[in-house]
């Protein structure tokens, strides 16, 4: 049993100058064989291992990670958490995650700083208004706490937004989900890692998967830089690198991996107390607890694994930010970075079995995977343990690309007429 984290343990350890803290997780060498191997030590992968151990009574589990845990999209995103999705399947999935977020710090005994400061989505043209109202009505009937706001209410909730009718694309309204918010991204990976480690999961870092061994239509194990690991169940949660792993198993996926960029400003005292997203002018902003404005930019339109995107994307995003928040003109960009996001044609994820027995994929989260971390891990664990999906992820199967039953979350924000 690990030592519990609390103010008392901090005080106690202060007397010994913090020399006696134990490791948050071990750093074992891989065993020869596991019941399940999770490929990918990001938030989703670690959460999957955690729930496999916790809810499905599996003990012999490994997470293999080619770099260091939480080093991919988990540590590179803008940490927005919300569940106000349009379609029933999506709303079910993301709200499941949101409910777990609400008790996650206590469950993991690790403060993931889940901050329910609300997420606003803004409407800038008449079709936006229709789309957001449609979504809000659907949310309400699905029991999700989203409300529609008019321009004055938007202004009241976030006074620094420029709601003047004279700007190029005035704010016509918006939606607000109050239970939504942000969390501390690194802490999510570390918290799950610590929790999984405590239940005996082996977290193996710096271990790159080089091949997947198959016997006809079933998996037998993985080749890694730390040798062969035997297993009958492989859960792949490799985000941007999903296709790379799939190719090893001879599968093709409906994915493209594209650069997604984000940036932060220098830290300042609190100036924005919520998260504001605007699809039409493409600007997402919140403020971290440290005081940095956290700004999400868009994806480039080409495949890349270089973790770099083009400057035009960053410039376009800041352009939109200044349109909505002219007061930020003299703020300064401190850091920008890129991640690799794997995007499905319908912008919805895949949590699914495959045509190969014992091979499961959890991928295609695109730009929105962080918010789903706990729910995704829970449902993927269920799918792996039972060899069949939970009802909440049944719609997110691979077959939908064959049958045509897509979960199209783009909607068509197309502007016609």
């Amino acid at each position: 049993m690990k030592n519990k984290y609390s103010i008392f343990s901090l005080i106690k350890n202060a007397f010994s100058y913090h020399e006696n803290w134990e490791k948050a997780w071990k750093d074992p060498e891989p065993k020869k064989e596991y019941d399940v191997v999770i490929i990918g030590g990001g938030g989703h992968g670690l959460a999957t291992a955690y729930y496999l151990a916790k809810k499905h009574n599996m003990k012999n589990i490994a997470v293999v990670e080619k770099g260091w845990i939480g080093g991919g999209n988990t540590g590179r995103n803008t940490t927005i958490i919300r569940s106000n999705y349009l379609w029933d399947a999506s709303a079910g999935l993301y709200d499941h995650a949101l409910k777990i977020w609400e008790g996650l710090s206590q469950e993991l005994n690790y403060n993931v700083m889940f901050s329910q400061r609300g997420v606003m989505n803004l409407a800038h043209n008449l079709q936006d208004v229709r789309d957001l109202k449609r979504r809000t009505h659907a949310n309400r009937l699905n029991g999700i706490d989203a409300v529609y706001l008019n321009t004055e209410e938007v202004k009241k909730f976030c006074p620094i937004i420029n709601t003047s009718p004279d700007i190029r694309y005035p704010v016509l309204g918006g939606t607000l989900q109050k239970r939504a918010g942000t969390a501390r991204h690194d802490a999510v990976a570390w918290g799950y890692a610590r929790g999984a480690d405590e239940m005996g999961v082996d977290i193996i870092q710096n271990c790159e998967v080089k091949g997947i061994k198959r016997n006809r239509d079933a998996v037998e194990g993985i080749e890694t830089t730390k040798g062969f690991i035997k297993t009958n169940k492989i859960g792949v949660v490799a985000a941007g690198h999903s296709s790379v792993i799939a190719n090893m198993a001879g599968l093709r996926l409906p994915l493209e991996s594209k650069p997604l960029q984000a940036l932060v400003s220098e830290p300042v005292k609190p100036i924005i107390d919520t998260v504001v997203m605007s699809n039409a002018v493409h600007a997402y902003v919140s403020q971290s607890d440290k005081g940095e404005l956290v700004i999400g930019a868009g994806t480039d339109d080409y495949v890349s694994y270089s973790q770099k995107g083009s400057h035009d994307i960053v410039e376009g995003t800041l352009n939109a930010i200044l349109e909505l928040y002219p007061i930020f003109s003299r703020m300064r960009m401190l850091r920008q970075w890129g991640g690799i996001v794997d995007i499905c044609p319908d912008a919805s994820p895949i949590i699914s079995k495959t045509s190969i027995k014992g091979l499961y994929f959890n991928c295609g989260w695109g730009t929105g995977g962080f918010k789903a971390t706990p729910g995704s891990g829970d449902l993927f664990a269920h799918t792996i343990a039972n060899d069949e999906p939970h009802k909440l992820n049944a719609a997110f199967n691979l077959n939908r690309f064959v049958s045509g039953d897509l979960v199209d979350e783009h909607g068509a924000a197309a502007v016609a007429h």
Binding site: K133, R135, H137, I167, V268, L318, R335, L406, D408, A412
Partner: protein, 1001 residues
């Protein structure tokens, strides 16, 4: 009374030009050329700010952009306020007002300082372990955490300044105008390369320009004098552009770099009006030469952060360049020869050097001998173990180091001082190099990372390449340049160099102390208060990768991005984990090199230039006639024309009624128009539309639906056959560009064998649509020569015609369900034609209507709007438009997808009409549709896509999509709103004139 610490006339400041400025409410004076830091130091002010976490007093530590501590808010409370400005970078100007940040009530007495005493409870990552109980309290904890974090304050009013962009394409870009950069720029330019030299400071010459002693000579002159002559020559070279106050922020792939040129930040506020503040240079260089120099390392020991502790090189620079003494009793602490240069400089200026503590045991160089000659006590083989003084250092404790440097021995000795200069050697500034994708190698001799492999056409020269001494620079730089620029020789082949610098160094990342590490505060990241013990704690807790340690301890995450301490963090990790430095890797340096103002990045694309505004040729008329406008893509479209204080609803009701009762007129110029020519034009249309085109007669029009390859409706419009091999296609306003792009794609890549040419004529033709029972009479008056008889010119046909000598096209097509004509006329005549229509229609009360009325009218007729009634999940079958899907055609885009197992399902959402029980009740567009409110969870069958009050039918009408709606005619459904439920009946989507009598009338 503050002391004046000016020593003598200096290189940079103009002592005849006095400038007053305010710091924390008090007025001080400095000279032209001073930075805020040098001016404060000259006024004997060291305490400038408070640190992020412990709120410890902090002073000026450096003299450049690497400064972690001395950051201030400028012009607090004004529109030009700016947080987190480095005092070491900003040049003073008359009227500058600066205040300390992150402290309350004042920098001298800061309540937050209590954190320093609580620090035992605030180790790295403490917040992950606490604030979890009770769960509901996180919000309250977070409120206080947020309040105490952050540094300066965001502006709260818009920025009055203007920013600009400039693209620069050059042969050679040289970054940094120190000695090596100047040599490179001169060499490149003189060899015919179009060269750009950028320098972040206001002056050229780097640190050599004040290296003015007999210990450093080039061709028998002091290096500074030699360089001054070089600079004079360089300034005269024709194809060399020099930009000072310009710092490179980002080095992207393909030699694309971003630099910020600072134009007005050094000017008094009143001189900045209407001037461009900063310019973002977007540089594409064929070759890049990085000469960004190096940054002096601090030394890591207990309490190494007090005001009055500076980098030794900064003390030298303040003395030599600005003529400012940082203290009257200086101590220098080093592991290399650099501080002796500082010492000699100080002695020359009469500034007292109290002692030098050198952690090396056996040292003997010309510089040291010279220092010793001046009776300065050198403690060889010693280290500092502690410092004292709260708001300013007042003394240090030193102890002897053991032979292996692992611990301290003997007894403590105290030495008083008012300034401490530290030097831990030099770190090459490889940030830009690594941003570009360059890979580093570790040089064990002096423990530095230097460039190894270059990803693009670039080199690094000078000290950023690990050449730290004058002789290394002058020997290696010309060699590197010859190879890189592919030239035979340089001017620097037979140069005589004399350098007294000895390269010996004793690198100890964390200096030993007489206390255990847990009891010390040895700062590694000064701004974020990350200490050596934090790093050790992270390692103890299993965070092993450098990125983990960085994130857990926040080392290197400050506004200085760890320019001073990142190397030490790595060093401490490698020592603690017994791994090799070279194998640990470094953390990723992310752009920008120094923080970049949002305004600069955005440039002039703000306000009215935020996004393009597209206007139709009739736009001015709409403005003159008080139209309200709707944004449709980048277009401004007339939305409705309120009269006599009408609201939108009233205006739209009036417009809609007039269009059906007599005549309406609409500007439809925004519709996309594509001219299609070629012998395979008909075949091409067969492939891109769902219906058949080959048999369309010349002079006839046909409506078409376009699908994506996934079978979903994507665009629609009417296409007219103008001639055997000539069509004109119309698209939706928003879809125009993508449709053309998609069609070109298929033509060029899938069907190159087709003889078809596409040319956009969207802007060439304005489209004026006149509809209503009197439309024919009006068109006849406007175009007298055209025969409009129904027999000769029925619905869905087209004619060429003329107005005067101006040719035009007339189509009889209708999006309203009324008899309707569209005049397509060359744009520059459109306003005139429109006015003619208005004049001709006066007697019929012709009524201009906007997009809102257009939407209403077409909804009465049950016509869809792609993008409003469809949402990328609707097939033509779902829209109940089976009639438009050709069964005979072999193939068309999207056909195959219509027959997948889930797209042929009967229970898909289908387009239907909805009629409210209460005819006055207008449904909300976007509202969900339900059959059974008692079912849990409530099953949503679909949603309302379009909804209006129809003045012509005198009732509310709506379109919606409903699961299995096709078979639900007459069925009752429910629209559940927040506070009520609305009952509706499913109907046919065509509400008006099912028989098309009005169309053909």
């Amino acid at each position: 009374m503050t002391k004046n610490l000016r020593v003598k006339s200096s290189k940079l400041v103009d002592e005849t030009y006095r400038i007053s400025f305010k710091f924390n409410g008090t007025t001080y004076y400095g000279f032209k050329g001073d930075t805020l830091a040098s001016a404060l130091l000259a006024n004997n002010i060291h305490l400038v700010g408070r640190s992020f976490k412990y709120h410890r007093p902090r002073g000026i530590m450096t003299a450049g952009s690497e400064e972690p501590n001395a950051i201030v808010q400028l012009h607090n409370g004004t529109s030009r306020t700016e947080p987190n400005v480095r005092a070491t970078e900003i040049e003073i100007y008359e009227g500058l007002v600066a205040t300390s940040q992150n402290c309350w009530p004042s920098v001298k007495f800061d309540i937050g300082g209590i954190n320093n005493f609580l620090s035992p409870l605030l180790p790295a990552g403490f917040y992950y372990k606490t604030f979890m109980w009770p769960a509901s309290f996180w919000e309250k904890y977070e409120y206080f955490i947020r309040k105490s974090a952050g540094l300066g304050k965001s502006p709260d009013v818009p920025d009055p300044d203007i920013y600009e962009h400039k693209y620069i394409h050059c042969d050679v870009l040289v970054i940094g105008a120190g000695i090596s950069g100047l040599i490179a720029a001169k060499t490149a330019a003189k060899n015919g390369f179009k060269t750009l030299l950028v320098e972040e400071k206001s002056y050229l010459g780097g640190s050599t320009i004040y290296q003015d002693s007999e210990f450093f000579k080039i061709n028998n002159q002091n290096s500074a004098s030699w360089l001054e002559k070089e600079i004079n020559e360089v300034k005269k070279i024709e194809n060399l552009e020099i930009k000072t106050r310009t710092s490179v922020a980002a080095f992207h792939g393909y030699n694309f770099l971003l630099a910020r040129e600072n134009l007005t930040d050094h000017l008094p506020l009143e001189q900045r009006e209407n001037k461009t503040r900063q310019r973002l240079l977007k540089i594409r260089a064929k070759k890049v030469i990085t000469a960004t120099g190096s940054i002096e390392r601090p030394l890591i020991f207990d309490n190494n952060d007090r005001p009055g502790i500076l980098l030794s090189s900064a003390i030298k620079k303040y003395a030599d360049l600005f003529g400012v003494a940082c203290g009257e009793k200086n101590i220098l602490f080093t592991n290399n020869d650099s501080v002796y240069e500082t010492a000699i400089s100080l002695i020359q200026k009469g500034i007292k050097v109290q002692a030098i503590i050198d952690n090396r045991e056996e040292i003997d160089s010309k510089l040291i001998k010279e220092t010793e000659k001046n009776n300065i006590k050198i403690y060889k083989g010693y280290t500092i173990v502690d410092t004292f003084g709260y708001k300013r250092i007042n003394s240090v404790s030193i102890m002897k180091l053991s032979k292996d440097g692992q611990k301290v021995i003997g007894s403590k000795e105290n030495i008083s001082c008012d300034s401490l200069g530290i030097s831990g050697g030099w770190t090459p500034a490889v940030h830009l190099f690594t941003q570009s994708g360059g890979k580093l190698k570790f040089r064990d001799d002096d423990q530095v990372f230097i460039p190894n492999t270059y990803p693009s056409n670039q080199i690094s020269i000078g000290s950023c390449n690990g050449d730290f001494t004058l002789d290394e620079i002058l020997i290696n730089t010309p060699k590197l340049l010859k190879e890189f620029l592919n030239i035979k020789k340089t001017e620097y082949e037979n140069i005589e160099i004399y350098s007294a610098f000895n390269k010996s160094k004793r690198n100890i990342w964390l200096l030993p102390s007489n206390k255990i590490v847990g009891k010390t505060k040895s700062f590694v990241d000064f701004q974020n208060d990350a200490t050596a013990k934090d790093i050790k704690l992270a390692l103890r807790e299993g965070f092993r990768s450098i990125e983990h340690v960085k994130r857990y301890t926040t080392t290197g995450m400050g506004t200085d991005q760890g320019k001073l301490g990142n190397m030490h963090a790595l060093g401490i990790i490698s020592e603690t984990a017994s791994s090799k430095m070279g194998e640990l890797g470094t953390t990723t340096f992310r752009p920008p090199y120094t923080p970049l103002t949002f305004g600069t990045i955005v440039g002039r694309n703000v306000g009215k230039y935020f996004d393009i505004i597209r206007k139709t040729p009739i736009h001015e008329w709409h403005v003159e006639n008080k139209a309200e406008f709707e944004n449709v893509g980048q277009w401004k479209r007339a939305w409705y024309y309120p009269q006599n204080g009408e609201n939108m609803h009233e205006a739209v009701q009036r417009e809609s009624k007039a269009a059906r009762d007599s005549a309406g007129i609409l500007d439809a110029s925004t519709l996309g128009k594509i001219d299609i020519q070629g012998t395979d034009a008909s075949e091409f249309l067969n492939r891109v539309y769902t219906n058949a085109w080959s048999k369309l007669e010349i002079g006839k029009c046909r409506y078409g639906l376009m699908l994506n390859e996934d079978g979903m409706v994507y665009d629609d419009g009417v296409t007219t056959r103008l001639d055997e091999n000539h069509y004109i296609m119309t698209t939706t306003t928003g879809g125009a560009a993508t449709v053309l792009g998609k069609l070109e794609d298929y033509l060029q890549t899938e069907w190159p064998e087709l003889d078809v040419y596409l040319t956009s004529v969207t802007d060439h033709y304005a489209t004026i649509s006149v509809c209503g029972p009197n439309s024919k009479k009006i068109i006849q008056k406007v175009i007298p020569e055209i025969d409009l008889s129904d027999k000769d010119f029925p619905h869905m046909s087209f004619k060429n015609s003329k107005i005067g000598k101006v040719k035009c096209r007339v189509m009889r097509i209708s999006f309203t369900g009324e008899q309707s004509y569209e005049i397509n006329i060359q744009a520059n005549y459109a306003k005139s034609v429109w006015e003619n229509c208005m004049e001709a229609g006066k007697e019929f009360n012709i009524t201009p209507y906007g997009t809102e009325t257009m939407h209403l009218l077409r909804a009465e007729k049950g016509f869809i709007i792609a993008g409003q009634d469809t949402d990328a999940t609707m097939t033509p079958i779902d829209l109940q438009m089976d009639w438009i899907v050709s069964k005979k055609k072999f193939d068309f885009i999207g056909k195959r997808s219509l027959y997948r197992s889930d797209t042929i399902r009967e229970d898909r959402k289908q387009l239907v009409g909805l009629i409210t029980d209460n005819p006055e009740e207008i449904l909300e567009e976007g509202a969900q549709i339900v059959a059974d409110m008692n079912k849990t969870p409530i099953e949503m069958l679909g949603h309302v896509t379009s909804s209006y009050f129809s003045p012509n039918l005198k009732k509310s009408i709506a379109l919606g999509v409903v699961k299995g709606g096709k078979n639900m005619m007459g069925q009752k459904l429910i629209i559940p709103m927040e506070k009520k439920q609305i009952n509706v009946t499913v109907t046919d989507p065509v509400f008006l004139d099912k028989e098309n009598k009005r169309l053909n009338a």
